[in-house]
């Protein structure tokens, strides 16, 4: 069974010369739910942009990222984006259509869905995220939590096999975070979630990758990695409270 994601020695440099990624390697198997944590500036968002070919700007021939065993090249960008659903950090950046229905329909439309089929897919995606009936609503009238759900719906409507989320809980109230966790637990796709919210990650992800300074410094069971106090503090993080009262042995 081919792993869902293989990243081999990924490197990336910004325009001004700073190295964002300095040799990142890991694998994710189908169905896993993996958390990506690390201090600000560690390169998490940059790494995520590589998973659906948005970076590097010119796809290299020696691809360092393989999705379902296939390297990402210029030729298969469209196919990769069908399989990898990327949810960005700022909902306002990706909800660019006037109404919720139009925005959720954007992805499936690109894939050729039309008419009844399209409407059905939109409705299914909206129902999945708990926004049934929100179709005709204008985006700028939505609450922040509803916007985040709408973003997720827009990506889920494309039925990706790999779901990648960048800071999905920032600006969410505790109820919103709980509901998002339940939502994600109900989605069978492989998941990679970048987040600062360690408490939330522990409850959702079985595995955690710690990124710092553009390299992977830890990769293992969430309960073990996040419980390592020295490791956490050394990389600008901390042990989540929920683990301080949890004795795995």
């Amino acid at each position: 069974m081919k792993p869902a994601v293989v990243v081999r020695d990924l490197r990336y440099r910004y325009h001004d010369g700073t190295e964002a990624l300095r040799g990142v390697s890991f694998q994710i198997g189908g169905g896993e739910c993996v958390g990506l944590v690390g201090p600000n500036g560690s390169g998490k968002s940059t790494l995520l942009l590589h998973l659906n070919g948005l970076l590097p700007e010119q796809p290299a021939d020696d691809a360092c990222v393989l999705i379902a065993g296939e390297p990402i090249t210029r030729a298969n960008l469209a196919a990769v984006r069908r399989q990898v659903g990327l949810v960005f950090q700022d909902p306002d950046d990706q909800l660019f259509c006037p109404t919720v229905a139009e925005d959720v329909a954007f992805g499936p439309q690109q894939l050729g869905a039309k008419g009844q089929d399209l409407a059905a897919r939109v409705e299914r995606a909206l129902a999945l995220v708990g926004l049934a009936g929100y179709g005709p609503r204008a985006i700028h009238h939505l609450s922040h939590g509803a916007k985040r759900r709408a973003c997720l719906a827009g990506v889920l409507a494309c039925e990706p096999s790999l779901l990648v989320l960048d800071e999905p809980t920032s600006d969410l109230d505790p109820r919103g975070r709980r509901e998002l966790k339940q939502l994600l637990q109900g989605i069978p796709a492989t998941k990679l979630i970048a987040s600062h919210d360690l408490e939330w990650i522990v409850g959702l992800c079985s595995r955690v990758i710690v990124l710092d300074g553009g390299v992977v410094v830890a990769d293992g069971l969430a309960t073990e990695v996040l419980d390592d106090e020295q490791l956490m503090l050394a990389h600008g993080l901390e042990r989540p409270h929920v683990l301080r009262h949890h004795h795995p042995h």
Partner: protein, 205 residues
């Protein structure tokens, strides 16, 4: 003024007028405005009053607050005053002034009723069916989507700057405002890049 409009559109209540098809409303508005503008010379005062009465009825049916309407109509006064002044020496200026005021007030009211009862996305649909180029439609759509977002960003940036403006010279103020506007453009530019990424992420070619 923007807040006035935002509140006005937020509070757009459902009604008979609101539910009418956008194309029809646009066509009616164009007909009213077109005939008012094209009406010759002094025009027919009778027709004018009929038009005004119809419009008033529609405005009431659409539940547009009369205060809002009057406030917007008052904004016409500098233009009207300017033209009146420029023509003060003309023999029939009083009649012309009346005609001008009446016409512009009627047309402006029509436009206000139209925009208050028609969501912009529906207007865009009408434009798309009228074969307006896709590039323009996309630009209009994105502008409409993000103008409130950017207006809020500008407000936040200005407040942040104002909080740290301890010396009140006008020269400094203009520089600061220029910087705020400049940064607003930079943010808009970076947001545009992220939007492009988001569009590509969902399959856009």
């Amino acid at each position: 003024m923007l807040k006035d409009w935002v509140g006005h559109q937020h509070g757009r209540r459902d009604g008979l007028i609101q539910r009418a098809p956008a194309g029809l409303k646009l066509a009616v508005a164009m007909a009213i405005i077109g005939s008012t503008v094209a009406a010759p010379g002094r025009g027919q005062p009778g027709l004018f009053f009929v038009g005004a009465a119809v419009l008033a009825l529609v405005a009431v049916a659409a539940r547009i607050s009369p205060g809002f309407l009057v406030r917007r109509l008052l904004l016409l006064s500098p233009f009207v005053a300017g033209v009146i002044l420029a023509n003060a020496l003309q023999p029939d200026f009083r009649a012309r002034a009346l005609v001008l005021t009446g016409r512009s007030a009627l047309c402006l009211s029509t436009l206000i009723v139209l925009s208050s009862t028609t969501p912009f996305s529906q207007v865009l649909l009408v434009l798309r069916r009228a074969h307006v180029p896709a590039l323009l439609i996309t630009t209009l759509t994105l502008m409409h989507r993000y103008l409130f977002v950017l207006a809020e960003e500008e407000q936040r940036m200005r407040r942040a700057r104002a909080s740290r403006t301890l010396v009140a010279t006008r020269r400094l103020h203009w520089r600061v405002l220029g910087t705020v506007v400049g940064h607003l453009f930079l943010r808009a530019s970076e947001r545009a890049e992220r939007i492009y990424d988001a569009m590509c992420a969902r399959g856009w070619q």
